[in-house]
């Protein structure tokens, strides 16, 4: 609905929920100020760059998650996709393949697993939450069976410059994140495909009647999220140079939280990439700051959960008069 009545869709950088971005930005500034008063280490270049690098995978995955949620879907298996892709990347490196061969393999794995979710929801008509819960189990089974409880360690860091390098003063990871979000923005805002995503999120039945190939759009969108998870896996391996057993366990829920905090509607049809990016920044700053201030990082889930409740309640109260919310 919003996408259709949008007066100037092509020029919009800020979502229809612009107030959300501003509120989130203000919160980030306030939280950042509190942390930098509490800890002298918070507002240092090295700490912020470190936080940026640590948030690379979450940022990339959240971009794809935003597309899926705008389409009215959800994917809780994305951590499993990341894990399986990382393991395959690790095994490929161990088999002696060069980086330029490993990278496409990793991206391909992610895409295939994402498309698998898409087929489950689009063709087998399994509701996305159930489908991806199930495939999360399956992916973690694959992961345990392949990795067998051991780490894959000592992988080459051929792609490390993408994470750790700098271009001039700008960290390479920032450029990677911006490139990913720019690509997502082009897909969502400039291509007909993005319009289809919005249409399905607003009203799937109408989208079908208008002649949009709903099934294909769904599969492609889930595959895009899978592709981004594969990319995140590639960068994870480049950053850590190993694959550990609990890789990707919390990333799906964090990505969903970042997306929702950023103003994307869980009902679909409304969303903002900029908001998601701010949501990721918020979550990572929170994690980093709590550790620096000396508060147990266990409180972080409480804070994220509490904030989600507040944000969702505020949304619900604001949309009371909106017929769409019924």
């Amino acid at each position: 609905m919003t996408a259709v009545t949008d007066p100037r869709p092509a020029f919009r950088l800020v979502s229809p929920t612009a107030s959300r971005e501003i509120a989130l930005l203000a919160t980030i500034v306030v939280v950042g100020a509190v942390f930098s008063l509490a800890s002298p280490y918070f507002l240092t270049v090295s700490n912020l760059v470190q936080t940026l690098r640590a948030g690379l995978e979450l940022a990339i995955v959240s971009g794809g998650m935003t597309l899926v949620i705008i389409m009215g879907g959800i994917d809780v298996s994305v951590g499993g996709i990341l894990a399986v892709s990382a393991i395959i990347i690790g095994k490929a490196y161990q088999a002696g393949l060069p980086a330029f061969a490993v990278a496409p393999i990793g991206l391909f794995t992610g895409t295939v697993l994402g498309a698998f979710n898409g087929v489950l929801t689009a063709k087998l008509k399994v509701p996305p939450i159930v489908a991806t819960l199930g495939s999360m189990y399956v992916f973690s089974a694959i992961m345990f069976l392949v990795i067998g409880g051991a780490w894959i360690a000592g992988l080459p860091g051929t792609l490390s410059p993408l994470v750790n390098g700098t271009v001039g003063f700008v960290p390479a990871s920032a450029i990677v994140i911006l490139a990913v979000y720019l690509a997502c923005w082009v897909v969502l805002r400039r291509l007909p495909f993005g319009r289809h995503i919005y249409a399905i999120g607003c009203n799937e039945q109408s989208a079908r009647l208008v002649g949009i190939n709903v099934d294909r759009t769904k599969i492609a969108t889930y595959a895009m999220l899978g592709f981004l998870a594969g990319l995140a896996a590639l960068l994870y391996v480049a950053r850590m140079r190993n694959v550990e057993i609990n890789i990707g366990t919390s990333i799906a829920f964090e990505a969903i939280a970042a997306t929702i905090l950023g103003g994307t509607s869980i009902r679909g049809g409304v969303g903002s990439l900029l908001g998601t990016l701010l949501g990721v920044v918020f979550i990572r700053i929170m994690q980093n700051g709590l550790v620096l201030v000396g508060i147990s990082s266990l409180w972080e889930t409480v804070i994220i959960g509490g904030l989600l409740v507040i944000v969702l309640t505020a949304d619900a109260l604001a949309s009371r008069n909106n017929p769409r919310s019924l």
């Binding site: 087998l124 509701p127 009902r267 889930t301 959960g305």
Partner: protein, 326 residues
Amino acid sequence: MIARNSRFSASDPLRARLLVLIGLWIVSIVAMSLLSPYFLQASTVPYLLQYVPVLGLLGLGQTLVVLAGGPGIDLSVGAIVSLVSVIVGALLAVGLNIWLACAAGLVAGALFGLVNGILVNYLRIPSLMATLATMFAYGGLALATTEGRPFSNFPAGFAWLGLGQTFGIPNAFLFVLLPVAVILHVMLTRTVIGRHIIACGNDDRAAHLSGLDVARIRTGLYVLSGVLSAIGAIIAMSWFMAARPDAGKGMELLAVTIAVLGGTHIFGGTGGVPGAIVAILIVTTLQIGLQLANISAAWQLGVIGVLLIGSVSSLGGLKLRWRTGS
């Protein structure tokens, strides 16, 4: 007249479903006894029944929440188990009587369920998101307040519930799960409240127009799910003689699997207690069997994932065939 019609159409696919489930259970028993020579022994039965109650209570609560439609789902049940454990353990540690501590735990469970119910039904936040947020909040609180340390100063008599047996059957099964299942089954099939729950799940608008307070009924079921989770927490504590702050970790996914596998339609309106009970037995049989056969936990995950996806998509197929057949 209308009531009889709806009862007929609601029970018909369910009966077929129940037969399929019982068949599936027999298949899994045969498969497990082939895998492990220890499985098909009389001593396995109490061992199996020992595992059933906690998961069973959560699965039954989930079944009712899903059954009432909305679409409803309660992802926070595992977190409620953890948080109630912590509350009861802490109250016991400050010297409260065990009975009072457990009663307080039940009240706390009801309150947590009430919060879920209000968020979902009165603020109209999609259930998936609301309970995901409270899952973060409750589970995070349980871990953060205790810093992950368990409480373990339970009186010896407390073990009666979780470890004791009467006539060779675990007490928790005989005196908790069985009565709860019977009561819920009678409530669903023989009382007005049960009819109202099914009506809400079938068509909430029609239910609303015929004078039902849909939001209140659904909220009541979230409260019930919270109370059942609290009972589950007490059984788990009595079983381990410790209150672990991560006691319910991962249980929400198993609870959803049980509800959906048991034939409850994910969008509500169809389903019931008998299917859920057989689904619990299937899941537990698989877990115990694979454990006895010393097969890695990864296979359990994989098998449950396939079951989850398969049960939803096959339910769709079954319904379709049933409709075209008539």
